[in-house]
Symmetry: C5
């Protein structure tokens, strides 16, 4: 939850040894291939990994999407046939990676995070991507719909993506993942506004809990979003023949979105910080109110009770003429009430002046 996933590799394992992650992922692993060029489109679900062999060295762009991390042999096979470094493959299976972009001899390796606002709160999934000259391989932990918009665009015959290369496909996939941040942020924005409204009404402990929970989620989101900026900035600026100049303009646009995400996250973070302060002030304010009621009630009635207590004393008026002569007065009791009313009114006037009533 705090973003510290158990690392898959057992201590004592040499780097580059592949191990299926213990915790999540689907049982089976499925491989989808989309092969396309301006005038050609082939979509297929691959049963045996050897079928992928046919897609190398063609002029069309091949997108291989692997869902599930449990078939270690598949990744060994991919490493061998696409010349992928074992460290990169290890990072694919170790799903606790920080988003990053690394260039290897003949391909680029990109790790990103897909964010979702599920019913159980913020959920993240690692998406790994390999960009070669004519292929893109993506690896997802679990089946999901993040890439559906891109698939749609490929299927539409005349879209720009059909005429562009693998680099544009990679951009489109990266952009689709970045775009998923916006609805998540919107949810947090709405939640923050809800809390702001509740803040002065009824600062209970659930609210405190919620503020802390949002703060925590924003910390996690920030830790995830921040390196994405570097990833996309790296793709945009780096000297490499894998990415063409026309695609860089689009990556710059995607980079702007990243900066915007960071901006919003920083603002939200400052707001939640301020909300905690407002909360504390609000609790103090309510305590003030409680104290005022107590003080007013006690300050008015305690002296009055004292006076009533005085005339409840049993000093014997018969024993001495000094003893409580008031008791024998003709108007002693009305006089008592007069004193009580005057005193009470004076108190109320005093507290009104102090603005406590």
């Amino acid at each position: 939850m705090l973003g510290l996933k158990k690392r898959a590799s057992r201590p004592g394992t040499a780097p580059g040894t592949l191990q299926a992650p213990a915790r999540r992922g689907t049982e089976g692993v499925s491989i989808e291939v989309i092969d396309y060029s301006a005038g050609h489109l082939e979509e297929k679900t691959v049963a045996a990994v050897d079928e992928l062999r046919g897609y190398r060295g063609k002029s069309s762009v091949t997108w291989i999407n692997v869902v599930g991390l449990h078939d270690v042999d598949l990744f060994y096979w991919l490493g061998e046939h696409f010349g992928i470094h074992s460290l990169a493959l290890e990072d694919v299976l170790n799903v606790g990676q920080r988003p990053k972009q690394e260039d290897y001899a003949n391909h680029d390796f990109i790790v990103m995070k897909q964010v979702d606002m599920g019913s159980a709160g913020l959920a993240t999934e690692q998406i790994s991507m390999f960009l070669g000259s004519d292929y893109v391989i993506t690896v997802q932990e679990i089946p999901g719909d993040a890439f559906d918009p891109v698939r749609e665009r490929i299927r539409r015959g005349r879209a720009r993506i059909r005429g562009a290369g693998a680099d544009y496909l990679a951009y489109a996939l990266v952009d689709a993942l970045i775009d998923r941040f916006f609805p998540v942020l919107e949810r947090y924005g709405e939640h923050i506004e809800e809390i702001e409204e509740a803040l002065l009404d009824n600062p209970g402990s659930e609210l405190l809990n919620e503020i802390h929970a949002i703060k925590k989620d924003l910390l996690v989101l920030r830790r995830i979003a921040w390196p994405h900026r570097e990833v996309i900035g790296g793709l945009e600026r780096r000297e490499t023949p894998l990415i063409h100049a026309e695609t860089r303009v689009f990556l710059r646009d995607c980079y702007d979105h990243c900066v915007q995400i960071m901006d919003i996250l920083e603002t939200y973070r400052d707001l939640t910080g301020s909300m905690l302060d407002v909360y504390l002030s609000s609790v103090s304010l309510r305590m003030n109110e409680v104290m005022k009621v107590l003080t007013v009630m006690a300050s008015i009635f305690i002296p009055l009770t004292f006076i009533a207590g005085v005339y409840g004393m049993n000093f014997d008026p018969k024993a001495s003429r000094w003893n409580m002569p008031e008791l024998d007065w003709a108007y002693g009791y009305p006089a008592f009430w007069a004193v009580i009313v005057v005193l009470g009114a004076a108190m109320i006037w005093f507290f009104r002046r102090k603005d406590w009533l």
Copy 2:
């Protein structure tokens, strides 16, 4: 409100596809053209977009101001005739952009925010600008008066602007937008001073609300103002034939204004942060006062009530000579009052020494 506008493009849309924004803008779209040189001035409201065709390739400076974003065809037309990249056009219509400056082959693209202090609080509007060698195109979401000062200056025959090129016009428009920050900041400055005065008098919950609201607005303003600095710094320093050396001196002046805006925003932000602390201290201080009144009242009268209670007891003096002989004393009742007065005075003296009275 929190600066997260809904992005216009539906998920699954290819980048560069133009869509009219759903939420705001005028129904119709209006196009004003001002064409001028040192000795020539033409102002006109254009009905059909084709009329703009005549303004290309002339020696005079042409300023095309488009108000409203709903005519998507217009923007396609502009893109085609002025060679504007589709990504830039998409940003014009997606009004949640971060202020930015991008250079394309034959024109500069600038996104800025116009700020206003309306009756409903801080309002922002996106202003897009295209700077070519002999034209400036500006796009506003809604009709407004931000550019009126510039229009006035163009109309005055002998102003510097009439002799200068399109780059000076762009500077004048940018400067007019930056200048709008100052009255807004002034309003916040006045508001902060009002709150500061109210802070120690009556720290109620509305005040807390107001401090938090200002803090929030300042966060939004800061997020808007910050990238403006980069925009103008970029215009000033960048190597481009579109901007002449003489104009750069003016842009440096405008950049200074941006820095000043950031300075003021930082100061205000620190002040509101400090105000929250003062608020909390002030609430605590008042509670202290309340508690003192309660404590003084209770501490004085509770012991006195106890003494009165003692002599209200019904131990029978007749049953034993040890039982409450005070009740039969000749001066028992005056002695009681003497004790009460001495005790009360001692208490008051004690609380005075403690500075609680």
Copy 3:
């Protein structure tokens, strides 16, 4: 007060249009000239601006000090005869500038702030300076004594300044302005120490006010002092024939003073921040004390009052032998007091053990 002076220029004014500031400055404008070289000294108050004409092109150093901003024609005249850019002149009259240093073709333009600790608190004044090859023009808003030490040094025949050029004069003037920060800081330092002593004695609301006021002043001072560092650093490091190598050593010394001022300001700022925390803790601590007194008094006497109340009840011992037989006991009343004393002592012992007494 918050450092946001109303900008002089009306919206819609072209940049470089000169306007006298509305708010302050003397009625008349006075011009003093000091012309000196190693063996020559001339001091004069100039009545008509034309008299300045004679001071151009001489081998001696000319210092023109203008006091007051209301004579717009004078500044037009200066602009024309000394080749000063209209934007720089506009900045001279717009007294809300940020300290800055700009280089124009044949002169340097420097804006600084003079700080003073007046009876009404922190006062700042804008000082503008033009450094040419053989002249320095300074512009003050109101008459003041900031430059008197420099005048004194010029009058003393054998001082280094008499043999040096205009750049050394400019350094001496800048240094004189920077030196004015130190007594101001010293005053704040003393004030902070006074508050620190008062903090635990009597944390009243005036103190809270004072801490907030100091914090605010330090924010303003910091905003003023910070760009001075850049100004002087710029003068020291910049490649320009206007400033000689020997003068740069002195500017480096002046830069060190700026850094020292920033250091002190940061320390003061951290201290005032900490003081607010201490204040809040101190208020809580005193409330603790108040609460302890209340709790001790109430906890001791409320149970005792209950017991006294019990024996004030009118259950009739004659109606039943179960009814308050204590009242008829021979030692009932002394036993009552014994119980009261033991109970009271137990309470006091309990509260002592808890360290509340």
Copy 4:
């Protein structure tokens, strides 16, 4: 504890003088040697230091692991035979070093910290490392299992490490030390989540203590982890023939882990900071609850007690018909109870409306 270990060298000692540390380490010093190449493996515990002489100048990789710092002569011997600078040797024995990496003429000197989560809390140990062209010397303060995974990998005949050089061995050792951070962080993460759960239930003083203790430990961890990043970044990027290009890819991976550690530490730090705020708010919230109970009880019963007190007064109805006629009423007592019940109910209704009950 606060990370300020007593520095071993007595004041007045020349730099480079070796002194055994006073405080910890084993009594004896043990030396293990592992010498290996692709086809050869020799493991040995060395009794006399002279035996090490045979391992220089061979084509195999030699790893010398020294455990214990008390044999100063051994380090003089190493310095002499492996050409190690006396300042580096001094740093080995002065165990309070900051992690660092220094390059000397013919070897690299690396200082790292091994972290452990012992029963007594966070424990750190200094590990020094010398990397030559064909040897790695490691020095541990006390025997430990940090390097066991690497030993295991060397023993397994066909592992990559057997075919690689001394630089890969150094990488493997550095990686093993960095990997030890993760379980430690995981423990802190679990602890933070435990505290978060306890935070709203029962904010006692132990919890406050624990939060402060975690904060302190995280500060120490951060101070240790931060320079590790520089160490590994330095190893990866520096131009040196000691480290081959293939190994740099692995170091980049290790660097990513460092960045991840820093990320997690920052997140934890922000969380503990937020937890302190939540704690304070939570304490205030509970006080609010306590005060409400007191206020409700006191506000209901104090007025009622006053009324009861009134009718306990001894004004004599016989002395005057104005004196307490209620006492003689037929339904005086039921009326009293009626008043009490109505008043009490009104109070309860009032407090319910205020949401205090």
Copy 5:
């Protein structure tokens, strides 16, 4: 105390004018000379400044240590004979300098601060140093023992320092000054741990005072320590023939110590910040406890007192059979006690369930 020493120079003084500081220093000024090479050592206290003349131009290293700042003529003499810039000499006498390092034509000027933990708290003293090709001049404000370790090492015939040049001597002196930070930091570390232990036991106002005082001292220390890092970093990296390559290795070691000092100071600062938060929470926690006692006592006894008050009323059972029939019941009084005990027990049970007892 706040680090703002009164600057010695009177306003209006030309830069480079020497003035003895007004406030501290010994009456007389003493000059010690140590002249040494590998085989030669001469120590002497110089009475007349002219004796120094003989030490210039020899192959041995000359260390001139001046104690006291009052003999202005001495400094003029030094300036003349060692070619020292008057600005540097002014800085020597103006003891409020920031630590810095400046290079002049034929010598280096270094200003450092010596820190001590005296009985009156943190004490700092300015140490100035001039490094020439064959001499080091140090100037101390008051006599002290900071340099004794270096003297000892010089006296020991075979130490490395005897064979090295003036640059190594300067390093040794700088290192001796930096080393003085460690015992001071250790004292603060111990003090912080003491406060941490006291924090939850007894958060009195002295503790608050102490935390604030430590925070203040750490701010001062930080302001002093920070520029030392630049000073030593500057010496290590700068291109100058005055410092040899071998000495740079030692300066790097010294630089590491500076970084370590900054690390520790940052950690201490974070800790004291956290301690203030813990203090405030702790005060709130204790108030909570106090309030609970009050609430429990008042809530139990106030209702009971009311009941006792009821049966103290004088409604006459004889006047009506509705009037207080309980008083005539046979078991009225025991029933009263039964009610009291049941009610009290219920209250206690309620408060126990709420965990307030």
